[in-house]
Symmetry: C2
Subunit: 333 residues, 2 copies
């Protein structure tokens, strides 16, 4: 049998998903016991040149997408609209949805989860936080009995790259931002990253997961790295410290959720000190497991596709997964 | 309803499990929708003083254990026998087993998994590798489509503590070992740790998990830290390097599994460079997720209990897990 995927969006992440589904057919078959196909892709600009095989319908009209025999929707558009509308319609059609969309999850996650519940389907979103690092699954599946006391994290690879470059090359914020843009690590309009919004959204998603609620957004400190100067970096270095954009989350003794995103100086023995460049890392302090740190690439086509595809497998693995040594039919994909 | 646990062993880890089950009743109930009780504990020495509540039978006879109405067995004895015999009998009685026993898993894991399969029950062993770090679950559940290219890890907290202390306090292997023993990080007979056996067993467990087989043990380089001198540490430091006991695992192009455990010099930009003291860390390189690193406490009562209890929840979560906000009955445990 075949599982049919509707792919929404064909930017960096969408292209990564498309290529991974083609290149990892054998692994997918072993994991879920089915072939996986992408019969339809939703794009924004029909004039762009694309590397898509024959047999795939590429459309700019979402209504065309759901006319295909689709089993699951993967969303890689980003932003609030039109993604929200598409995901709502997909869930209402009982289709499971996998998304990497942090802004949408932070703003409408609760609502989308309710729509999914109401229609006996599922919403998976590991890829929305920290690239390929399975931090949400770790918290949700393997820290169920642990009491989580505090989370500290580097969640924005662009900001971390800029801060790392400012320190290593002794250059200004503006020079380092320009370098990040040249390398494709920062967008033409970098405000979402450098003003701290991206890390803020991800922090809200983690808050939803751990506490089942978010703090009042007005009570959250959100500072980006745009005000960090060369002098700040040098002053930190004199004390062997580094400046990092740190997202923090905890619950105070009166039950209030306390969250912040801001550039902070951290010491060499801090577990996030060694996290450089576009990497992300999350430190989770708990009463039993104590101090866990997960790190890895925070963005990029394949790492984000990795989180999406592993979510896909988690959704469908109960179909009939194959034992490691069973033969895999190689034809017929 | 109640889930009844038979606890085998009441050393550091067993005591940690016992205390966690008592202190985390509410979290357990939320996670699995049942109360959890330990009606019977198997011990070795009936003359030792123990902090055990009334209503728990403490016995030195394994046959007495299975006369109780038991739903699951948690093994915290360690070593090959008599643990193997107890676990075999438990699995043959269709009881799921949770264990932290790396030596047993490395030597008899395949056999025990087969017994579990044959009797439609389960064997869970996250706690056998890297303390509270859910590295086995991450590999098994969230890197199913990823092609794992290489694993590098610090898997023995005792050795890492000794190496860290030798460097920080500029003292010999013998002095640092004595300090580890004073602090309870090393046993009276430390050979299992300092000769590399402990890290070796854990590497074999990871090999079983990733490749579904182990390399021929005779082909595996296994060196401990007992031959590391102060001079080695100082020479490394001069190049800003550190000596770490590194376990490595990969598959060569001809399909052969290559594994080693040995002290190596690593550079400051290596992701295991910052791992100090009794901590463990595992780096997994894959084609999609790229370079993931998980770190945390590699041993200790509560971290190991954490992995055991989270395995327990994973086994029983499908009973009827409770939503975050549902009320929890507080009486009647």
């Amino acid at each position: 049998m075949t599982i049919n995927v509707a792919l929404l969006g064909l930017g960096t992440v969408g292209q990564g998903v498309y290529e991974t589904v083609i290149s990892h057919q054998e692994e997918l078959y072993k994991a879920i016991g089915e072939a996986v196909r992408i019969p339809v892709i939703l794009i924004k600009d029909s004039c762009k040149n694309r590397k898509i095989n024959g047999g795939v319908e590429v459309t700019t009209d979402f209504n065309e997408v759901l006319k295909h025999p689709v089993d699951v929707v993967i969303e890689a558009i980003g932003g609030c609209e039109p993604a929200y509308n598409y995901l709502r319609k997909s869930l209402e059609s009982k289709l499971p949805v996998i998304t990497a969309n942090k802004e949408l999850l932070a703003k409408k996650g609760k609502e989308l989860k309710k729509i999914a519940d109401d229609h006996q389907t599922q919403l998976a979103f590991e890829a929305s936080v920290a690239g390929s690092i399975p931090i949400l699954h770790m918290i949700k599946d393997y820290l169920k009995v642990n009491r989580i006391q505090r989370v500290e994290a580097i969640l924005n690879g662009t900001s971390n790259f800029i801060l790392t470059t400012m320190r290593e090359k002794i250059q200004s914020f503006e020079q380092s931002l320009a370098e990040a843009q040249r390398l494709g690590y920062a967008e033409a309009d970098p405000s979402n990253d450098v003003l701290g919004w991206d890390a803020f959204y991800k922090t809200m998603i983690i808050s939803d997961l751990i506490y089942n609620e978010q703090p009042d957004w007005n009570d959250v400190v959100r500072k980006g790295i745009d005000q960090v100067t060369q002098e700040d970096i040098l002053a930190a270095e004199e004390s062997k410290e580094k400046v990092k954009l740190i997202a923090a989350l905890s619950r105070s003794s009166n039950g209030q959720i306390e969250a912040s995103v801001e550039p902070l100086r951290i010491k060499p023995d801090h577990p996030l000190y060694a996290i450089e460049g576009v990497n992300n890392a999350v430190r989770v302090k708990t009463d039993l497991a104590e101090d866990l740190v997960l790190s890895g690439p925070g963005a990029g086509a394949l790492p984000t596709a990795s989180a999406i595809i592993e979510d896909f497998v988690a959704l469908f693995k109960n179909n009939k997964s194959i034992k490691n040594n069973d033969p895999v039919p190689l034809g017929g994909y």
